[in-house]
């Protein structure tokens, strides 16, 4: 099958756009697992909440997109804090399995509740005016909004990575999860840190949701399709690694983009093939550390 260079270039660029979105979404998951050892299956549902809140704000209160970029993550983040305090903290000492099952149950609950109110066809959310229209790149048309998604995602990803790997707070966090008693002995409030971390990871998911609202139809089930792929990304990248999640997210976007050109039907399965191959060669993922 002959593919022209412009066509290939456009698919690569689109792949990068999607990849930055995957990176953004996997980031929260990687933060939560890497620092808290909780497999947060509810990530998809929380992403959906971010998008739905954005829609609700516009629809009921005429609050615009830019405000929601900040407000939605805060609200959902607070909700995450609530989940952590009320539910998650009881299961930290247990096997990973329970965290997964608990958050799976939460997902079903949240999605089911929203669905019973809003149905499944979804709610339309318009692209904010400042970002509508497109750039004509010659070999393809790139909507301005998609370019914005890349920029916003990459900024947040890099900022988060920096925060966790390079700052003092990040150091406390990492130390706190490895050896909570010791860090507490130094006067750091470890449980509070853990709660806030979960809230932060959740807020990242919600931020991705706000970004997604103008692009994907806002529907209570919108997280379902993405959650498995995002999981795969985090596993491939290495479950503890922030940088791993970011790079794998980007990489996967590109690989998927290429698959869509040459074997489109398999584009949603290729991530699993990659996962099996990676896990066989590097058991802890590409950048992970074997625990």
């Amino acid at each position: 099958m002959s593919v022209s260079l412009p066509a290939l270039l456009s698919q690569l660029l689109l792949g990068l756009v999607n990849g930055s979105f995957y990176a953004m979404l996997s980031l929260g998951l990687a933060v939560i697992f890497g620092l808290l050892n909780v497999i947060n299956f509810a990530h998809g549902a929380l992403f959906m909440m971010g998008a739905v809140l954005t829609w609700m704000a516009m629809n009921y209160f005429e609050v615009n997109y830019w405000v929601m970029l900040v407000v939605a993550p805060v609200i959902v983040g607070l909700f995450g804090v609530l989940i952590e305090r009320l539910l998650l903290r009881w299961i930290y000492k247990l096997d990973h399995l329970y965290g997964l099952l608990l958050t799976l149950g939460l997902t079903l609950l949240i999605e089911g509740l929203f669905r019973s109110v809003y149905g499944v066809s979804g709610l339309a959310y318009d692209t904010p005016d400042a970002l509508s229209g497109a750039f004509n790149l010659g070999f393809m048309i790139l909507p301005k909004y998609r370019a914005w998604v890349v920029v916003a995602s990459l900024v947040v990803c890099v900022a988060t990575w920096f925060l966790i790997e390079k700052t003092r707070i990040g150091a406390y966090l990492r130390a706190g999860t490895e050896n909570p008693r010791l860090v507490e002995a130094f006067g750091v409030n470890v449980p509070l840190m853990i709660t806030l971390t979960y809230g932060f990871g959740v807020a990242l998911a919600a931020f991705a949701g706000v970004l997604a609202a103008p692009v994907i139809q806002v529907s209570p089930l919108m997280g379902q399709n993405l959650i498995i792929v995002v999981f795969a990304v985090v596993v491939i990248g290495g479950m503890g690694s922030i940088m791993g999640a970011i790079l794998t997210g980007l990489g996967l976007g590109v690989v998927e983009g290429l698959t869509k050109v040459f074997y489109p039907e398999a584009s949603s399965t290729v991530v699993f093939v990659i996962m099996v191959i990676v896990l066989l060669i590097r058991p802890a993922g590409l950048f992970g550390k074997e625990k």
Partner: protein, 334 residues
């Protein structure tokens, strides 16, 4: 051990009599198939400590193969079931070879990834019928003589098969092989240091679990007359985890109870809602029929937080504490 034989004997008798007490045979058969599926899964999770996210591949893959064999090749039901079980075993062997080397969440994710690939194949392959499913699988004649088209006849045959398979699981768990599995679950390094080839044991457990899941899937196809994508979808993998968790991990009767509750939930929630609405006069219960996901989610959450031993686990713990003399019974949960 004698007590448990008595208990299961009573259960078997109850099941034999069930159709005459007004139970609906097709629903019971569905229950039996899922009870077998959950028990097979529990062999791997509760007794060997391996969490697989890909069991739908065994359930569904075998369902399709058995269905195709019985419908298109015209084989008799017992051959169809054997072929299905063999498919489960084969898939289990392949999955096992690839996944066994890894631990914990990575093991689970590999099984999930492999199951997704099986799903993709099922979606693409012509013989599965894709979205429409493999329909119109005939009941046929068992061994060429016994006509299975009557629901009652089919029920007793299914009951015998599931009882035999369950007995096999019980035997496996109580055998030396089963003891090693438990040892691996509790302390793998120690088992290794004792000289056991841990990987081989795990693989064998995986294959047995997959084969019996395949039997469950094939039997389901025979009973209901079709195999669809739902059987290979990851939600079926999630469903069997819920059944086992709800019923009680590492107990023998747990999966049976868990399967019963989950299947009943899926099929009867509308009626349960109407019943509750009638009893409590709360109108909202009538809409329960549309809320299967919400109720399932709630059960998951409650189970993990407060109910981790599952229904049978809690019941057994209750009686073990109460009947102190028998508390020491180290035969492993029943």
């Amino acid at each position: 051990m004698n007590k448990s034989i008595l208990g299961y004997g009573l259960l078997f008798l109850a099941l034999l009599a069930a159709p005459f007490m007004g139970a609906y045979p097709v629903f019971m058969m569905k229950l039996l198939c899922f009870a077998l599926f959950a028990s097979a899964f529990n062999l791997l999770l509760g007794y060997t400590g391996l969490l697989s996210f890909g069991h739908a591949a065994f359930l569904g893959g075998s369902a399709y193969v058995a269905g195709h064999a019985m419908k298109v090749w015209g084989v008799t039901p017992e051959l169809g079931l054997i072929l299905g079980t063999a498919t489960g075993a084969l898939l289990g062997w392949v999955f096992g070879l690839l996944a066994i080397r890894r631990q914990g969440i990575y093991f689970a994710m590999i099984t999930l990834a492999l199951a997704q690939m099986v799903f993709f194949i099922a979606l693409q392959a012509k013989f599965t019928g894709g979205e429409d499913g493999l329909q119109a699988v005939p009941r046929g004649k068992l061994f060429g003589v016994l006509d299975l088209s009557s629901d009652l006849t089919m029920y007793y045959v299914a009951l015998l098969i599931v009882a035999a398979a369950f007995a096999l699981i019980v035997r496996t768990i109580h055998s030396p092989f089963g003891q090693v599995l438990k040892g691996i679950k509790e302390n793998e390094p120690r088992a290794l240091s004792l000289g056991y080839d841990v990987s081989r044991f795990k693989l064998l457990a995986f294959v047995i679990s997959a084969a019996l899941s395949g039997l469950a899937g094939s039997l389901k196809t025979l009973v209901l007359g079709f195999a669809t994508l739902t059987d290979v979808h990851w939600s079926s993998s999630g469903s069997v985890i819920l059944m086992t968790l709800l019923g009680g991990l590492g107990t023998l009767s747990g999966p049976l109870v868990g399967a019963a509750v989950v299947v009943a939930l899926e099929n009867k929630i509308g009626e349960l809602g109407n019943l509750l609405a009638g009893l409590t006069r709360v109108e909202w219960f009538n809409t329960l029929g549309e809320s299967v996901t919400i109720v399932t989610g709630l059960i998951f959450v409650v189970c993990v937080l407060a109910f981790r031993r599952g229904i049978m686990g809690e019941v057994i713990a209750l009686f073990t504490r109460g009947g102190g003399k028998r508390a020491g019974a180290a035969g492993g949960g029943h």
